[in-house]
Subunit: 329 residues, 4 copies
């Protein structure tokens, strides 16, 4: 295992969407004004805590890759990854698993474009978040077909670019009631079926939590399979993807997640996936990072030999004591 970074050297990335206009089905006029692609980059940089950005593609009309590159450079940010928008109106009933071949082809084509954009921006990977790939009602789809489309769609893109890394961000539901890439294990099982080596998993703490996983265990599993591509953090009430600030509710489980992040020697930025509907996104980022730094500093205090001994004995009360002492002295 590589040596873990100190909490001081831990870096953070963000999602472009956290800085844009958020909208939902009730506040259809948005929770704030329209904010363009380039402005989100400025705002992300202004948070003062981010080194990189997860970028949705396509960008705004009229904004080219070179414009984005220039904005990132100007603000000292990198593109951590490109996330093609395979979940808007065009793909409302599925992207790679859409019912008609033309939609599946459109998803494929957008993915191909995203590979080019990622290369142009020097992004580490292309992320798929297939948020419309699934179904809503019993009896709505044929499951073998859904599985086949899901696996083949990703595989076909990945095979075309054996040197590019692809990460799938799983989520139990929303906007579909049932998503195909639902849990860490379901996704790893399907990824194995792609038969390619360059597709892996993005483990989002919040997605894991409301999928009824323990996020630290899911992260450990993804790492062990050699398929871990990225790590995202946020928080929620265990039932929905609330995208609250990191550590807002689940400090112990966030601490354990960061402990595993350290144990596996994670060297890339940890990404924040926030939806600050009513908050200033800069505040939400800073508050999250401050909490994560405090927690990682506590994680560094954990007496690892004692902890491992307690874990070898499944000794919950000793583990709790060590955690409490690390947190509160």
């Amino acid at each position: 295992m590589t040596s873990a970074p100190s909490s001081a050297s831990r870096t953070f990335a963000g999602g472009m969407w956290s800085f844009g206009r958020i909208i939902d089905r009730y506040a259809t006029d948005g929770y704030g004004p329209e904010i363009g692609t380039l402005r989100t980059i400025e705002l992300a940089a202004a948070s003062g805590e981010l080194v990189g950005l997860d970028l949705n593609y396509p960008f705004d009309a009229g904004v080219g890759v070179a414009d984005v590159k220039a904005a990132l450079d100007a603000h000292g940010l990198v593109a951590t990854n490109i996330t093609p928008v395979i979940y808007d109106r065009r793909f409302r009933s599925g992207s790679f698993t859409g019912a008609d071949a033309a939609t599946r082809r459109a998803a494929h084509d957008l993915a191909e474009e995203s590979v080019d954009v990622a290369a142009a921006l020097g992004a580490r990977y292309v992320k798929f978040w297939p948020g419309q790939d699934g179904y809503d009602y019993p009896f709505q789809v044929d499951y073998p077909t859904l599985r086949r489309h899901a696996v083949e769609g990703i595989r076909d893109v990945a095979r075309n670019h054996p040197d590019v890394t692809f990460g799938i961000e799983y989520k139990l539901k929303e906007p579909r009631n049932r998503l195909f890439w639902s849990t860490a294990a379901a996704s790893l099982l399907a990824i194995e079926r792609t038969g390619v080596d360059n597709v892996g998993l993005v483990v989002d703490f919040g997605h894991s939590l409301f999928a009824k996983e323990n996020p630290a265990e899911a992260l450990s599993l993804a790492h062990e399979t050699g398929r871990l591509v990225d790590v995202e953090v946020d928080d929620n009430y265990r039932e929905w993807d609330d995208d609250l600030t990191a550590g807002a509710l689940h400090l112990v489980e966030t601490l354990e997640f960061l402990h595993v992040v350290r144990e596996i020697g994670w060297q890339h930025p940890v990404k924040l996936d926030l939806f600050p509907y009513r908050e200033d996104p800069g505040d939400a980022v800073r508050e999250s990072v401050a909490t994560l730094r405090a927690l990682e500093e506590r994680a560094a205090r954990l007496p690892l030999d004692e902890l491992r001994a307690a874990q070898a004995a499944h000794d919950a009360m000793t583990a709790q004591r060590l955690v409490r002492t690390a947190l509160f002295g």
Copy 2:
């Protein structure tokens, strides 16, 4: 108890929003094209199954009350109620419980306007769905203040119009993570504190279900307190307000809900609260109504004396048998 209507004479109403453009935080370009106020009325009528419509107010720019009245009349629909939009950007952090007095005043004023509109359209009541009244994070609000604003805000409007009926549609969460008007009991308790007689409850089957209530029990409670104002139906996976077609998943609990609807002698239309993101709204209405009619026809087959005897003995297996027999012969 008044004699229950036969299932043949049961009528249904809908929500204007089911026929408009639905949008969410991912498909920010909407699940379909823009649809104006008057067109939603046309589409609602075209479903062929509705006698009335729950109308959000304000209407589209340029559409007056007289226009809406004319459209309703032309299509043979009534306005069941007016629902002021106290949950858009202006009220994103609360309407009657907003932090600043100006926002609370704006909510009050919009409610007052809605009373006028309801009168002009002959609507039976004004509905409040205070979907932004609550909070997202622990420590975010002072609970006594939140309660006071919630109760006083509604009370002040209701006192001004003692002859007008107001109904509060409770919901556990969304878009806020925690809503004040959360459950049937929490809402009835707060309504008691208003000290007025003309405020009651809108019981939505789906809201009740994911608030971890049994909808039939919640409906019975609201009726018993004399505070039942309206009844809405839909379905979900018990964790979120999915607004699926009625009976899509929970046939037995929908049947029990309809059984209570009959037992209490409900005479008004039963309202559908659907969000057909990817479906034709007319189809969603027709499918819901067909299921509800089938279920009510089965509810009418329940041998009430035997059922009451089983219930008096808390005899679940006999009750199940009677239900199964009513459903499947």
Copy 3:
């Protein structure tokens, strides 16, 4: 408001059940050996952190009230309250709401006995936890009858003893799938209907959490109505009454709960409701108390003026910052 006790002076009570043999439907031979009534008192005292005990009644065969009194005295413990066992085999289908009058009478009689035992032991109140009062299946019970029995059963006992305090511990479910005394608001509404002044609410942090309430808000509501009788703490995964050690998972919400405990000037011991299936109960108590003391010490650091200002503005990010700073410096 009375002045809040310092965290140093905060005292804790426990539940007798935490020290006895725990059993469940799978480990039907129990998670440990049989432990008698008097031995649980010894073990509770030996934890070194408790001043009082919630005692289930009846005691073991052959153990009299005087024996219990002597054991409590010998170990320097008080009986905080008596909890009649209205949820064992005899009451498996309901106690005060049981289908037959004889069962309801038996519940009444056991409650009456418990009043005597409470008096003999100097307990502050009699607690009802009506864990079998509810139902499991749709259509199983008639809701108006269930409500009537629930309210009248408690009322009849309370009326007989106007100088005795009774507390109802609400819980959403378990062992019944649906319990009558389900949420804080549902219980307060029903308590109002008893028409008596000496019945109130026991707010258990864990029960509140998995009833999808925010425990701090529920506690504040119970206090405001003048119906708060006792306060219990523990933790769970928000879906079931796991009865884990306090603060094991939800540190921020436990902190907020303790903040309200302080704000309302709570002077009685805070009670632990733990089920340490596989852990030493003394360890579980000590670990819980250590966490609660650490959290209360942090609660005492909260800058109340700043917090109130943030809450008046519904300013989540400032509230989060104050909480984080209190927790981690």
Copy 4:
């Protein structure tokens, strides 16, 4: 695909536990009297609807395999499978994943014994339900070690008996808060890692439902991987393993599950996993079977060509209509 059996020829099996004394942490005196091994067989047969029984091993003290064989024969029942009790006090902190080698060895030895018992009784397979294999608290275990023990423990038994079939019944939680064999996908992924061919999955409708899967999809996945060993049915409120009668709540999803049971040509008995705490177990079995027969008869009415066309188009409203028509004509 083999031709599906008609609903008339569908047979059912039960679990021995449904007919024995049920106990839980509150009714520690049990929901009824003690009932011995041989008596449960009698009662199962007396239900009149079962052809086989899932048998927990060890049997009661003094009851030998020959006694059980004789009782089964006398009542015309078969042993569908043997389920070693790897979840009682001895294994309270884990069986194959227990912290100490002696416990893991004990689990192995009991599994070996169960193989012999299964052979003696002619059972089709040995079922593992590792209900204590997991953890309760964050930081309690080392996840790589847990995974290794879980996989190796099962593998070692299976390798010793390449001609014996083993089935793992997954469950998200209970009695542990977090179980290792949690979901269909997590279990299939781990089963792949055993590297043996004779270990598969038992898909329980209720377990799948509260693991937030769609049971029909989970069943389809298990079948497709060639790892489906058995199928169990029951119902619950989607949050816990309530083990209600089949179809008590989720008729549509139960119908879809039965539809997949038919599509995959399942020929073995469908097993009921019920915990009739307060009901007569014979009634619970008969009510479940009657509902399942009614639903399978409706499943047989589904127009498969139309359904497949709707599914190919992801056409939820048409699928709903076909389902409704099959259910209600």
